[in-house]
Symmetry: C2
Subunit: 435 residues, 2 copies
Amino acid sequence: LNVADLICKKRNKGILSREEIQFLIKGYVAGEIPDYQIAALLMAIWFVGMHNTETTDLTLAMADSGERVDLSSIPGVKVDKHSTGGVGDATTLIVAPLVAACGGKVAKMSGRGLGHTGGTLDKLESIPGLSVQQSIDSFIRIVADCGLAIVGQTADLAPADRLLYALRDVTGTIDSIPLIAASIMSKKLVSGSDAIVLDVKTGNGAFMNDMDGSEKLAKTMTAIGAKAGKRTTALITDMNQPLGNAVGNALEVREAIQVLRGELSGDLKTVSLALATQMLLVSGICADEAEARQRVESALSSGEALNRLARMIRAQGGHPEVIEKTELMPRASRQIPVLAGKSGRITRLDTARIGYCALLLGAGRQKKGDSIDPAVGLWMQKRLGDEVTKGEALAVLHVNAEDHIEEAFECFQKAVNIDAGRLEARKLIYKTISG
Amino acid sequence: LNVADLICKKRNKGILSREEIQFLIKGYVAGEIPDYQIAALLMAIWFVGMHNTETTDLTLAMADSGERVDLSSIPGVKVDKHSTGGVGDATTLIVAPLVAACGGKVAKMSGRGLGHTGGTLDKLESIPGLSVQQSIDSFIRIVADCGLAIVGQTADLAPADRLLYALRDVTGTIDSIPLIAASIMSKKLVSGSDAIVLDVKTGNGAFMNDMDGSEKLAKTMTAIGAKAGKRTTALITDMNQPLGNAVGNALEVREAIQVLRGELSGDLKTVSLALATQMLLVSGICADEAEARQRVESALSSGEALNRLARMIRAQGGHPEVIEKTELMPRASRQIPVLAGKSGRITRLDTARIGYCALLLGAGRQKKGDSIDPAVGLWMQKRLGDEVTKGEALAVLHVNAEDHIEEAFECFQKAVNIDAGRLEARKLIYKTISG
């Protein structure tokens, strides 16, 4: 096997065999195949795509590149959830307690935010005392005790993915459906759960802007899950505005708690309940959707889901009182409303730009390793389709540092279209796709 | 300027500006931009191509990456010639003396053979004593004295090209018209001549197999030449069989000498005269083609071209007696005919395979740095369109080492199609393209 020949084969739309893909990934992780050959291969894949068998083989080769988490000592069905990344998306903080309250075991390894999208670990760290760095033993014990835990990666899972992602990031090859699918699924396959629900975001705040791409990504990932023996369902959900009203770490935790307290309805709640319902189905805890839906709603209304979140917070070293007193989390020193410049209807929100506005205030990272301010962000007062009057608040910026305020302000204003036009037809949950 | 952004821009069919291309090439040569980003960029270029302005800017940036040869101390017009690479193509050994005999100055830096194609330096080194490694002073003095010199690169000309070519070679990005054009023209621009004639080979023994690609390459290169202020003409010539009958280093020198002695006609002579004619035109030595053609034919028939070759050989340290006694060059120990397996007409020759057959015998290199045997190779007895009788010799293999003889034998047989079919229409010189 010759690497340059395999690059040419892929470039010329050939289908790489399992053996060839394993050779490439093993050689790359071992340092025997240089970055520059893999970079050329990734760009060729970006152009010609991958056959389903290739994507599955790539995913499995990446999964096999490191350790696997063994969750077998936890009794019950382990069920995982993953979002492809959005703005104002605190669903994990709602969904994991809901599923745990219904008897599922949610052993979730999450990531940090990058660019305009947030990360669950950053959000959780807004809770005083809470640690997302847990040993694998502690992680397993917390899941067994509470039904859920949300932590950072406990080991070097799928090192091939870490290497490939870093390379893709600097070679213009991030936005490739097979590469995204293999990256996500390789980590899901090694993280030890029995079943997986994927939340594939679609719209102007998501990696995938169009429905075709989102559906292809969802189908690719559920097919990989099926072939790898993990029941996998994907929901395609809208990301043409922030899912919740809060964008920013402590703000999003507050909003999630409000949903779990039953104080708040809206898109964030709707998508969370749908995801939790699918998790009960895919894990086999419930046999049909009506039953699953009812179980989830009971877990919410009884307060058991909120109770589960409190138990997890305590187990991870945090102060569970935030459940009652969200003001225990860091708060920004100033709140500045962004006012509507004219009257009309909100016909479009540039969601990535709203995420970037929060980033400018300190809620996110331009690049890996940047520090963030848990307190800052913004709270949407108006959503898509709302009628607004000139001078009314569109959102409130939560601000600490003085720099970038002007820029963030302008960024938010530019993200909002107010006019007399019609809204594009949209749904909140477009499709459910099973592997 | 951000490299990843520029990769994405190119990938998305954007046109890179001169400033952006200079930034990329300077950064790469300086070691500030890593191989893997350039590899991804090259693959993106392989897929989307380059606009003419980009190819010119790339060529100029590559030319500016190192020294330029200053030939200004040589009186007269300096005219260069370059072939895109073929099999049995010893034209340089005929063309350079012809042009020198007509008053042109041919200061030629040549290359070595790789894969199925031969290299002029390897051929010349078949001549006992001759050295292709000359200092720049010696190179200039020989051209001034003899009208021609053929040497290896005297300095690190266009180091960007050296780096890019090595990277392309291992990343499946060799066969890209803008990258080939920029590679060739960057070296031509810095080698100091005033005018350039390009021999773009087309057919199954050339890099470019089809006329569309060959014509595009020719037009791209002549346009670059024109923009860079060098008069440039390209001939598109056939490479659907070895140009001469000889394939192998000493054998090709022998054939070239036979042409210069007036003993041999055929495709090699025809193309050589055409190239020399264009060199007299593009250099302004002759005003019209009829005059140029006549001058070239006189230089041949008078023996002045042969005399020029002898002078060059002596000046470069070789034994000029080879001009009379070609048997002074290394000769193979055995000659083995390849016989026709059936009677019929030769309707197709796989030229790359014939080149590979000679390589197997030791005449060429699988990879850079491999040693070669100057004596070995093959001599075609039959050419495209010839009628052959079963048992008649198609070619004679000139053999030294015993290994690979069987393989070479089979390789040649597979390269020859004998049947009752019709020949595809072909010409020897398809087109003349001026910048």
